[in-house]
C-alpha cells in the first residue's frame, strides 16, 4: 500500500551573506531528509531549534518547494506552491501553528475564520457546520462571535484546529503546536489531537522540541540534527534505548527523578547550519566520535541486530567507540 505521504531526500538551501565583504554562504537548512507517513498515523519529528524540522514540515506540506528530492502525497507529486491545483489540495492537508494568535486574523471573529476554508473550497459554510466544528475541538458555539484576543491561548489553538479541520483533511502538520501554551493546557491540546485522530483517521506530522510530548503523541519518532534525520524508530524504543549519541544526549536531558547521574552534557558550540562540520555533522560535539566521523557522513540505515534506523558509524559498529576524557 502506498503511504499517504512520502518525502525522498529533501534538500532545502538558503543563501546568506555574512559581514559586509562576505560572499553569499549556502546554508542547508534541510540536507537529505526522507520520511513516510501512513494514513491515520503520527510521525514525531524532534530536534533543537534550527535543525530544519519546521522547514521539513513546510516542504512536506508543499508550502516551500524542495531544492532537491521530492514529496509524494497520495501517490502524486506536489504541485508548485501557489498554483491552482496546489490551492485545491490545501483542503486535504492543513497546518497547526506554534503561535495561534499570530495565525488568526485579529480583526475577524473566530466563527468567520473557521468558516473561511469552507468558503474557499466551495463547501457549505453555514452556522451549524461551524458550530459543530467548534464543539468538536471543545469550544462552545457561542464563542464563534469572539475575537481572537478575547480567548485564552488554549482556546485560540482549538480555534486554529477547528479551522484546520473544517475541510476534513487527511494530513495535519503540527509545528510546535503546544510550545506556546501553559503546561496545564498542553496536555489538553495533545489529548484533543489524539482524540481527533482516532475519530477521523487523520495522519499527523507532529513537530516538537519536546521529546516527551512527541513520545506521547507519536507512532514513530524521527530525531533531526542539522538538517538530517539521525535516528528513527518506535517512540518507546528510541526513548528507552537511544542508539545515536545525539538522541542519547536528548533523552538524558529529560528530567527524571528516578534516574541519577549519567546525564550527558553536550560539548562544543550549538549547531550552526552555515558552518556545517565535515563528515557526521554531530562529530565535534559527540563524546564517541572517532576519526572516521570527521571524514565520512554516516547513512541512515537499519542497525544490525534490532534493525533500528540510525545514522552513526559507532552505533552501526563500523567504528570502535572512543570515550573522550570529560
Amino acid at each position: 500500500m502506498t503511504p499517504l505521504l512520502e518525502a525522498r531526500e529533501l534538500v532545502r538551501r538558503y543563501s546568506m551573506r555574512r559581514g559586509m565583504l562576505g560572499r553569499p554562504v549556502e546554508v542547508r537548512a534541510v540536507n537529505g531528509v526522507t520520511l513516510r507517513l501512513e494514513a491515520g498515523r503520527t510521525l514525531g519529528l524532534v530536534g533543537e531549534s534550527g535543525c530544519g524540522k519546521s522547514t521539513t514540515g513546510r516542504m512536506v506540506l508543499g508550502l516551500e518547494a524542495p531544492d532537491e528530492g521530492d514529496v509524494q502525497f497520495e501517490g502524486a507529486p506536489m504541485p508548485p506552491p501557489g498554483s491552482l491545483p496546489w490551492r485545491r489540495q490545501r483542503a486535504r492537508m492543513q497546518m497547526v501553528y506554534q503561535d495561534p494568535l499570530g495565525a488568526l486574523d485579529r480583526r475577524l471573529p473566530i466563527g468567520v475564520q473557521v468558516a473561511e476554508p469552507l468558503q474557499i473550497h466551495g463547501l457549505p459554510a453555514d452556522a451549524t457546520r461551524v458550530h459543530a466544528l467548534l464543539r468538536q475541538v471543545g469550544l462552545r458555539p457561542d464563542q464563534a462571535e469572539r475575537y481572537p484576543h478575547e480567548l485564552s491561548g488554549g482556546q485560540r489553538q482549538r480555534a486554529v484546529l477547528a479551522r484546520a479541520l473544517a475541510t476534513d483533511p487527511v494530513l495535519l502538520v503540527c509545528d510546535e503546536p503546544i510550545s506556546a501554551l501553559d503546561v496545564s493546557i498542553q496536555a489538553q491540546v495533545m489529548n484533543l489531537l489524539v482524540e481527533l485522530q482516532q475519530q477521523r483517521g487523520i495522519a499527523l506530522l507532529f513537530i516538537s522540541h519536546d521529546l516527551r510530548a512527541v513520545r506521547q503523541m507519536s507512532h514513530r519518532v524521527a530525531v533531526m540534527y542539522l538538517g538530517r534525520i539521525v535516528e528513527e524508530g518506535e517512540p518507546d524504543a528510541v526513548l528507552h534505548d537511544p542508539a545515536h549519541p545525539y538522541a542519547q544526549a536528548l533523552v538524558s536531558a529529560i528530567p527524571d527523578p528516578t534516574r541519577r547521574g549519567n546525564r550527558i552534557v553536550l560539548q562544543g558550540d550549538p549547531p550552526n547550519p552555515a558552518a556545517r562540520p565535515s563528515g557526521c555533522a554531530f562529530h565535534p560535539r559527540c563524546p564517541l566520535a572517532v576519526s572516521l566521523c570527521a571524514r565520512q557522513a554516516p547513512a541512515l540505515k537499519p542497525r544490525p541486530g534490532d534493525g533500528r534506523l540510525v545514522a552513526c558509524h559507532v552505533a552501526q559498529g563500523e567504528a570502535a567507540p572512543m570515550r573522550k576524557a570529560a
Partner: protein
C-alpha cells in the same frame, strides 16, 4: 518623578483619552465638516453663478471692509462675487485632493502588495521606483509632466495622484511581508485562499487604520501642491477655478483689492491646518508606530 505620579498618570490616561477629544480637534473637525458641506452643497448655497459678472460692482469691498451685503466677500476685477467663486473653488480643490489622495493610496498599496507577494525582481523594481520618487522633488516632476502633456482636469488629478504613492507602497509592503512571514496572511494562504482573498479580505483591512492615518497626513500636502500649481497658472485652468487659482489671479490686485486673495488664502491655511491636526491626532491614537 516619583513612582506614585507615574502610576496615577498611567491610571488616568485611558480614562481621559476616552473622555473626549481636545478642543482643537473638535474645532478642526468642525471646520472640515463646514468645508465638506460647502463643497457638497455648492450649487444650492451659491448666491451667484461663479462666472456671473457685475460690471458696475467691480472690486467691491467685502462687508468687514465697509462693503455691502450684496457681495459679503466683495467682488473681483470683473465684478464676480468672491464668495461664490470661493465656494466653487473649495469644491474643486477638495475634489482634486480627494481624487489624488485615493489614486495615490490605491497605486501605492497595489505596488506594495505586488512587491510583497512576488518578492524577487518585482520587488526590486518597485523599490527602485520608490527610491526614485522619494529622491525627486515632486513639484519638479509634476511641472515636467505638465510641460509635456499639457493640462486637463483628469490628467491633473492623476498627476497629483502620483504624489506620495511611495509612502503607501513602503507601508503596504512592510506590513504585508510581516503579515505573510508567519502571521495570519500565511495561515490564510495555507488554507488555499487566492491572493485576492489574502490581500483583499485579510491584509488590507488589517492595515486600513495605518493607511487612513497616512492618507489624512498626505491630504494637506496635496491641497498645497494643487494650490501651488494652480497659483503658478499650471493647475486648474480658467474658466474653472480653485483656491490656488484665486490667489494667483488675486495677486494682480494685491494693493487695490487684497480681499480677493485673502479669502482663499485663509481657507487653504485653515483646511490644511485642520486636516493635519486631525492626522497627527489620529496617528497618536491609532498608530503610534507611524512616525
Amino acid at each position: 518623578m516619583s513612582d506614585t505620579t507615574i502610576e496615577t498618570a498611567t491610571a488616568t490616561a485611558p480614562a481621559r483619552r476616552r473622555a473626549g477629544m481636545p478642543l482643537a480637534i473638535i474645532l478642526a473637525l468642525g471646520w472640515i465638516g463646514l468645508v465638506l458641506f460647502v463643497a457638497l452643497a455648492a450649487d444650492w448655497i451659491n448666491p451667484y453663478a461663479f462666472t456671473a459678472m457685475d460690471l458696475r460692482n467691480r472690486l467691491a469691498a467685502p462687508v468687514f471692509m465697509g462693503g455691502s451685503w450684496s457681495h459679503p466677500l466683495g467682488t473681483d476685477e470683473l465684478g464676480r462675487d468672491v464668495l461664490s467663486r470661493l465656494i466653487v473653488s473649495i469644491r474643486m480643490s477638495l475634489l482634486i485632493a480627494f481624487g489624488a489622495t485615493l489614486i495615490s493610496a490605491a497605486l501605492g498599496v497595489a505596488l506594495g502588495f505586488l512587491a510583497a507577494h512576488f518578492r524577487g525582481l518585482a520587488e526590486q523594481a518597485v523599490m527602485a521606483l520608490v527610491d526614485f520618487q522619494a529622491a525627486m522633488p515632486f513639484l519638479i516632476l509634476a511641472l515636467a509632466v505638465l510641460a509635456f502633456f499639457g493640462n486637463s482636469l483628469a490628467l491633473f488629478i492623476c498627476l497629483l495622484g502620483l504624489n506620495g504613492w511611495e509612502r503607501y507602497a513602503r507601508i503596504a509592503r512592510g506590513l504585508a511581508i510581516s503579515a505573510g512571514a508567519q502571521g495570519y496572511a500565511a495561515a490564510v494562504q495555507q488554507l488555499g485562499a487566492s491572493p485576492w482573498r489574502v490581500y483583499g479580505r485579510h491584509v488590507l483591512p488589517n492595515i486600513a487604520s495605518t493607511l487612513i492615518v497616512s492618507m489624512t497626513l498626505a491630504f494637506p500636502e496635496i491641497i498645497l501642491l494643487e494650490s501651488g500649481l494652480s497659483f503658478l497658472g499650471l493647475g486648474v485652468q480658467p474658466p474653472g477655478t480653485s483656491l490656488g487659482n484665486m490667489v494667483g489671479y488675486g495677486r494682480e490686485y494685491l494693493t487695490r483689492a487684497p480681499w480677493i486673495l485673502l479669502a482663499p488664502s485663509v481657507v487653504i491655511v485653515l483646511t490644511t491646518l485642520a486636516v493635519s491636526m486631525l492626522g497627527d491626532w489620529l496617528r497618536d491614537r491609532l498608530d503610534p508606530t507611524l512616525r
